[in-house]
Symmetry: C2
Subunit: 393 residues, 2 copies
Amino acid sequence: MIEQIRGGVTAAAGFLCGSTSAGIKNPQAPREDLALVYSELPAVAAGTFTTNLVKAAPVRVSMEHIASGEARAVVLNSGNANACTGPDGLKDARRMAVSAGLVLGVAGEEVLVCSTGRIGVRMPIARIEESIPRIKLSNTASLKCAKAIMTSDTFPKEIAVRVETPKGVFHVGGIAKGAGMIDPNMATMLCVITTDAKVSQADLKKVLGGAVEDSFNRITIDGDMSTNDTVIALANGASKVRPPLALLREAFDAVAQTLARMIVKDGEGVTKFVEIALTGAASKEDARKAAEAIANSTLVKCAWAGGDPNWGRIMDAMGYSGAKLVEEKVSIDYEDLPLVRGGLVTDTPWKKVQAVAARKEFRIGVDLGLGRFSHTVWTTDLTEEYVRLNLGE
Amino acid sequence: MIEQIRGGVTAAAGFLCGSTSAGIKNPQAPREDLALVYSELPAVAAGTFTTNLVKAAPVRVSMEHIASGEARAVVLNSGNANACTGPDGLKDARRMAVSAGLVLGVAGEEVLVCSTGRIGVRMPIARIEESIPRIKLSNTASLKCAKAIMTSDTFPKEIAVRVETPKGVFHVGGIAKGAGMIDPNMATMLCVITTDAKVSQADLKKVLGGAVEDSFNRITIDGDMSTNDTVIALANGASKVRPPLALLREAFDAVAQTLARMIVKDGEGVTKFVEIALTGAASKEDARKAAEAIANSTLVKCAWAGGDPNWGRIMDAMGYSGAKLVEEKVSIDYEDLPLVRGGLVTDTPWKKVQAVAARKEFRIGVDLGLGRFSHTVWTTDLTEEYVRLNLGE
């Protein structure tokens, strides 16, 4: 049985966390901007990272450190992405890991690094080094850490679940910060998931990869892929329960999907949460292409902002998506209302469909009528407020 | 010598055109919405059409009719795209061609059809059939025709050139309507180019293909590709001049590039015209991918709207473009100001770069430092006004 509980990243036994203010973006306007998540026991580690060729220094350093398959801690900051900062940026990311390691009594290589905020600006590494020792670790500070990694997020994102098994109880929890390149000068999505389940590194990798694929890889706000995206999982085995992989995956899915939905709902200037359930594609890749083309079409998103169920723009976006498509076989539903059948508009009263598109949250079902493959994407509308928030610094 | 002259689509000898009001979108609020371009002599014809898999009926019919390599006329309308209209839409498009043919005394198969406007709505074909005979053809009506095909364009788009050769004078002229899916319910770009040069169909195809590749295929406003995009060229040989292909191409380039720039400048809610000159790519395809990723990034475009020369967003967009990229080799210039060298920001005063990004028109040079391939794109910013205009009907 999977049950939602409080505690976020410290819900699992043997995990502590804490945060402090390091004045990273602006020492004159300090806020909590530095967080540390720590496993008291050695933990196996797995991570997924941005596939952008322009990778921020913390991403490069975390990829190096996680190669061992083990880690004891993650140090995270907001206010500076440490991206496009060259060799100096790499040194700074390593120094963050080493500083955290010194305080925790572990090697720098056992610490992973996540950064979010401005790009192209050197990290104030001295302030970070001074601040890390001030962080007080506890098993009640998860929400504080979730807040410390926020940039223009409007609410902190954390979740945890408790899972009962015949062999005992284990926990999975996580914190995340928002996507949508939220910070004016570039942002990112970051996520740390912890569990006290016993699991091999290979299995953790498998479970995390699958959970990310079905959550964070299905959300899109503006189609811009960050230089810093990182999802890290640490499993310390403190519960002594080795759950069946399917159950662990289910718990990871619950945590990752909840955090992913929170990220979409907190997209900049967003007023709608839209699920696009694409079915009937000739291949898995086609299903993804068609669903993402709809989700990323500027015009489709503008129409949703206006409460307009513009099926023509949806047809158009799929037509240039690269997916195999036969116009005459396409069906489109807004919730349970059939809007398009055989590529042609139905006689469903327009006002009824408009009423669905006026909701804050709705589901669009699109069937290509060509095969058995499907893909679901969670996305948002595109608003004037989004443009306003992203005009610059 | 290539010299700009008046006359648009009738600047070339032997071409007539005319327009009328057919009340296509709304018979209660009539405006000129139907245009006819006619060659008095048999003309060779070439066309390029949207690659969207969802093709409007007029596109399908024009593709069929142009297969012969010859055409005598083009009938164009605004107010209805005749897209996603199924077998009825196809019948309507054929009826438009036949009606125009009857009036002109040519076969329906010799007439090409272009439509722009709302998608998914049946064409008021009876009103069109009644209206075509009312069109008065003349060699002074080009601007009137350019106006009749406007949707939310704010100005008509026409251009013509006169070319002197040792063997005599020939002309190339054209009209176009705007891109950016301008109409709330979907729009398109349409263009008709006429010339009195003598040229074989194969050569016309080559010349038009090249000119489109270097003009209309280099512009992007929102990355959404229409169901109706059409560029048609008719060459009737009335000048009796068979120019060297390079010269004909130069004249076509002048016409197509002028019209393409007009289209970008008239994008919905647009405040900036931005040229992205991408060089140093490892392949032609990479150059295109990187340039288009910059041009279509929602965040890059929002930054321009705010006058922010946000190089981080440019690096980021190239990083996920699919083009080969080595961060440490990238250079970015705003006009002649070096902003990024070796992937790192230079010490060019930020205020100077901001002053460039504040202009209504500027050029960004990006060099990947990996090879000899280049690609140039013309694009715009993304504004609150764009979102407002596209919220719905």
